[in-house]
């Protein structure tokens, strides 16, 4: 986990499409569709994060060997 300087440019994060992007008919229309399946590897990614008062770079790969709960939500300050 690397701390980064808070600047004006948007910090980089990236989805890392690896083996889990499955080609479907949609791909022919120029779209990629992800197939998330239980029992299959979680798609890898890295992202900037706020953690313990600091701005850090998070990578899912750093959590190998640990149980991870990954939550998505619509936005900060939403009510529920």
């Amino acid at each position: 986990m690397k701390e980064f300087e808070a600047g004006c440019s948007r910090p980089k994060g990236q989805a890392k499409p690896a083996t889990t992007i499955v080609a479907t008919p949609e791909v022919e229309r120029g779209e990629q569709k992800t197939m998330i399946q239980v029992g299959k590897p979680a798609p890898q990614f890295s992202a900037p994060a706020f953690y313990q008062g600091k701005f850090v770079e998070m990578d899912l790969a750093d959590y190998k060997g640990k149980w991870v709960m990954l939550c998505f939500y619509p936005g900060d300050f939403t009510f529920v």
């Binding site: 992800t34 590897p41 994060a49 939550c71 998505f72 619509p74 936005g75």
Partner: protein
């Protein structure tokens, strides 16, 4: 979706107040362009937001469970923790035991095998699914 700056302000001005002055204990990641959400199939292109997706990833990096909800209903954190405890238990048991409906730590598991086929009714009662 928000920047890490907004995460900080949300933590400092609201969430920490729910936590008796402590910071949110986990990392608040920023997925500003929605690419991670797309990768996990929880990004709503029309609304331009993430839905409430929740994934349990085991120590091998394998997804063991997920739940996806539309925005207006909150999650059941106790249920998520119960699932993690159950997945940890069966992982430890290496296939020798499985966790039936409503299982939580301390409750009976089932031992799969030829003798259990057709005999679950003797080992497990429906009310166990509803008991704490």
């Amino acid at each position: 979706m928000d920047s890490v700056f907004v995460h900080k302000i949300w933590n400092d001005n609201e969430l920490s107040k729910m936590l008796g002055g402590k910071d949110v204990p986990f990392a608040m990641l920023s997925d500003q362009n929605g690419n991670i959400g797309r990768l996990y199939g929880v990004y709503d292109e029309e609304a331009g937001t993430e839905t409430r997706g929740r994934f349990i990833i085991d120590p091998d990096g394998v997804i063991q469970a997920f739940e996806v909800m539309t925005p207006p209903v909150g999650r059941n954190v106790k249920e998520t923790l119960r699932q993690i405890q159950a997945f940890q238990y069966v992982r430890e048991a290496k296939g020798a035991e499985v966790a039936p409906a409503g299982w939580r730590p301390g409750k009976n598991t089932l031992k799969p095998g030829p003798q259990l086929v057709g005999n679950v009714w003797k080992e497990w009662k429906v009310q166990e699914a509803f008991e704490e």
